[in-house]
């Protein structure tokens, strides 16, 4: 199958590498980064394209962009992996809409558009016989969507809760283990590349809340937005408060929760037993799915990283390939 890719940052490069190295049956026919693009319906030589990107910072010809690629009809699936914009979702939102309107399936790692416009994007996909997949938007490499959709098919989900932000988890872990202050732990997270220069989205709980919105809308068909989430970040958590918790073998973690029956959609720092499965170290994510028949299932894995995100995107591509033609 032919795929076009918008965005060639670390995630995009990881996906291109996987298409090149693993024989999974996809041909990359178009790619665009922020400055350039290229369209080659017979298939792009990925190795030389990546080499050019490395050397010049551009993957193709200046002036060729998303609009040209979307209109080209040289692809069956669009991979949208450009940087996310949580406020407007653009330019990714327009690209995804355009592709779906053309009947092309879309795989994205971009949280903004999926969180902002979930129901209408789904309607568009349905109307045009296309798929919209977004496994990579929630918990990186953890196959949460596939688990709920396929693995737990037929199981009503009563509650979802977990650690949805690796940056916060790293900071809280370091405060607990080493007695670092919040500021020290944040600085360390930045030095190690786990936190952005502006860490607001992570530490205020907004990133975790966006993931809850996506899950609420995807799993229960809700029509939630970021404004519906009750959010408390970790920037007020003190080292002393964690020390108080540790006296009783407890600790503090940033937990996101969706409990539809109680109307709970919340991100907040919580006291939790250190032996609880959600207490994971470093930048890991963990999510517990409470089901009617299967009981509770907890998934733990890497929530970020280029290869990890690429893994989720690839699994969505394979899902669409395997289902191709079933939806008519």
């Amino acid at each position: 199958m032919r795929v076009a890719m918008l965005g060639l940052g670390s995630v995009g490069k990881g996906i291109a590498g996987a298409i090149l190295e693993r024989d999974i049956g996809f041909t990359l026919t178009a790619v665009a980064d922020s400055k350039s693009g290229r369209i080659e319906p017979s298939g792009i030589d990925i190795a030389s394209m990546l080499e050019q990107k490395e050397r010049t910072g551009m993957c193709g010809t200046p002036g060729v962009g998303a609009v040209d690629i979307l209109a080209s009809d040289a692809y069956d699936i669009l991979i949208e992996v450009s940087p996310t914009n949580a406020e407007t979702g653009e330019p990714a939102l327009s690209s995804i809409r355009e592709a779906l309107c053309r009947g092309k399936s879309v795989v994205t790692s971009n949280k903004g558009p999926v969180a902002l416009d979930f129901q209408s994007l789904h309607r568009l996909a349905e109307e045009h016989g296309a798929y919209l997949r977004y496994e990579a938007t929630v918990c990186g490499a953890i196959p949460i969507m596939h688990t709920i959709e396929s693995g737990l098919a037929g199981n009503p989900i009563t509650k979802l809760y977990g650690v949805f932000n690796g940056t916060c988890n790293y900071i809280l872990t370091r405060m607990a283990e080493e007695g670092l202050t919040y500021q020290q732990a944040l600085l360390e997270a930045r030095e190690r590349g786990y936190a952005e220069a502006d860490p607001t989205y992570d530490i205020k709980g907004i990133d975790a809340a966006i993931k809850l919105v996506i899950l609420a809308n995807a799993v229960w068909g809700m029509e939630k937005t970021l404004d519906d989430v009750e959010i408390t970040g970790i920037d007020g958590v003190t080292t002393a408060s964690i020390a108080l918790a540790e006296e009783q073998d407890l600790t503090i973690r940033l937990i996101g929760e969706i409990i539809p029956a109680e109307g709970v959609l919340r991100v907040s720092p919580r006291i939790i037993p250190k032996s609880h499965p959600l207490v994971v170290g470093e930048t890991l994510n963990a999510v517990a799915i409470d089901t009617v028949m299967a009981g509770e299932i907890t998934l733990i894995g890497k929530g970020a990283g280029s290869l990890e995100t690429a893994s989720a995107v690839i699994s969505d591509l394979l899902f669409i390939r395997d289902c191709h033609g079933r939806r008519s």
């Binding site: 809760y161 408390t232 007020g236 958590v237 003190t238 002393a240 408060s241 020390a243 108080l244 918790a245 006296e247 009783q248 407890l250 503090i252 973690r253 937990i255 907040s268 720092p269 919580r270 006291i271 939790i272 037993p273 609880h276 959600l278």
Partner: protein
């Protein structure tokens, strides 16, 4: 509970020990000797708090050591819930915060443990609220949440019943 035991040295200790062994807390011991009744048995009333689910093992232990349990008073469930408060707790009148809970009549602040770093920096406090039912503990927590909003401190609640 009211217990009947042999009136011989060391017997009182033998009933108190099992209570502390199961993690119980003795609130009062009434040990009356009625001079009108000459008997070789002794009646003792003990008021104690014991962990949930430990009453049956305790009764079995008493039976084993030959202590007769005459009567068990009202068994009241005790629920404790600890939360952590971060903020300027002293400056926002911690006595008032505690009174807000204690004056409800259905819950009380049972323990308080505070770490105060430098002046002007927020202090961190672990507050344990005690009540006779989960519903009442939750009612008290609702009140505490309101206080936290008014006095602008962060309240960190347990994910599960801890």
């Amino acid at each position: 509970m009211k217990l009947e035991m042999k009136d011989s040295p060391g017997q009182l200790v033998s009933v108190i020990q099992p209570i502390s062994e199961i993690g119980g807390n003795i609130l009062s011991v009434i040990h009356e000797r009625d001079p009108a009744v000459r008997s070789d048995v002794l009646d003792v009333q003990i008021l104690c708090e014991i962990p949930e689910g430990s009453l049956e093992p305790l009764l079995a232990r008493f039976k084993q050591i030959g202590v007769n349990v005459l009567r068990i008073g009202e068994e009241r469930l005790l629920v404790r819930r600890s939360v952590i408060l971060i903020g300027h707790l002293i400056h926002t009148d911690i006595t008032d915060t505690i009174d807000t809970i204690d004056s409800t009549g259905f819950a009380e602040v049972h323990a308080l443990s505070m770490i105060m770093p430098a002046i002007n920096e927020p202090s961190s406090t672990k507050m344990t609220i005690k009540s006779d039912s989960l519903a009442n503990v939750n009612r008290a927590l609702d009140i505490l949440r309101d206080v936290a909003r008014q006095k602008e401190f962060l309240i960190i609640e347990p994910l599960e019943d801890v």
